[in-house]
């Protein structure tokens, strides 16, 4: 079964998106830790859409589709903002001292750590598509 919803591209949507994700993945039977991981990954993905693809709030919409398969959870996020190249995302700042830490980044890295796969593609017809997958352990 697939559930799709469109949310306005603003920070107020984030809490609603979390509830939508929680409801939609219920049947997958993930444990609390994995449910949290998926909600956090989606939150980070949506923040990146608002902040980077749209360059701010209230610029466009985010379409989120959740599909629960027997052994896998698939979440697709679409937006009409500007594309990016994941290869250009700088690696996280490991071993930095507190003072050296730059206070941004980590979202994309977190998504990849939290999910089993993170796939991004862009086409002028469909816009940006981010596909997050999480294996369902049985």
């Amino acid at each position: 079964m697939q559930r799709t919803r469109v949310f306005p591209g603003n920070y107020k949507s984030l809490a609603e998106i979390s509830s939508f994700i929680e409801q939609s993945i219920k049947e997958a039977g993930l444990d609390t830790r994995d449910v949290y991981a998926v909600k956090l990954a989606v939150d980070e993905a949506c923040c990146n859409i608002i902040d980077h693809a749209y360059g701010g709030e209230h610029k466009g919409e985010m379409e989120i589709s959740v599909q629960v398969e027997t052994d896998c959870l698939k979440i697709e996020l679409r937006d009409q903002g500007k594309p990016f190249n994941p290869a250009d995302v700088p690696p996280p700042q490991f071993n930095a001292t507190l003072e050296e830490l730059e206070e941004h980044g980590a979202g994309y890295y977190l998504m990849k750590k939290l999910m089993d796969s993170v796939h991004y593609e862009y086409s002028p017809q469909t816009g940006n598509r981010m596909i997050l997958k999480k294996r369902i352990k049985n």
């Binding site: 920070y11 107020k12 984030l14 809490a15 979390s18 609390t32 830790r33 949290y36 991981a37 909600k39 956090l40 939150d43 980070e44 923040c47 608002i50 902040d51 996280p92 700042q93 490991f94 507190l98 003072e99 830490l101 206070e103 941004h104 980044g105 980590a106 979202g107 890295y109 977190l110 750590k113 939290l114």
Partner: protein
């Protein structure tokens, strides 16, 4: 996001409930800034009722930690952090920047 601040002799306890995400992180930042701007740098963040923290939230805490630790004048410590939240903090490599207590009294008693 409602944020409460309780001022003790040696430290301030900050408590909030719900989600710390891009929407609510600014309110938390404002509360924490009000403490450091008053020249108080020993802070306990009581996360008992915090159910979710995104990277935006962590950066607010890192920013406050920098202000507190500068000139060794204090520290921001965390208490009652939910297990999943702590795991994601470690996952993103920021766990090492915070001392974490299990108990509010122990956190206040550490200052």
């Amino acid at each position: 996001m409602e944020v409460s601040i309780t001022q003790y002799k040696r430290c301030d306890v900050v408590k909030a409930a719900g989600r710390v995400d891009s929407n609510t992180a600014p309110s938390l930042a404002e509360a924490l800034d009000s403490i450091t701007e008053a020249g108080r740098f020993k802070i306990v963040f009581d996360m008992k009722d915090i159910s979710f923290v995104s990277s935006k939230g962590w950066w607010v805490l890192i920013d406050t930690q920098k202000k507190c630790k500068r000139y060794k004048r204090g520290e921001l410590v965390l208490v009652n952090i939910h297990k999943e939240i702590q795991e994601s903090l470690n996952l993103v490599g920021l766990g090492t920047y915070f001392q974490i207590f299990d108990d509010l009294t122990a956190a206040v008693g550490s200052f």
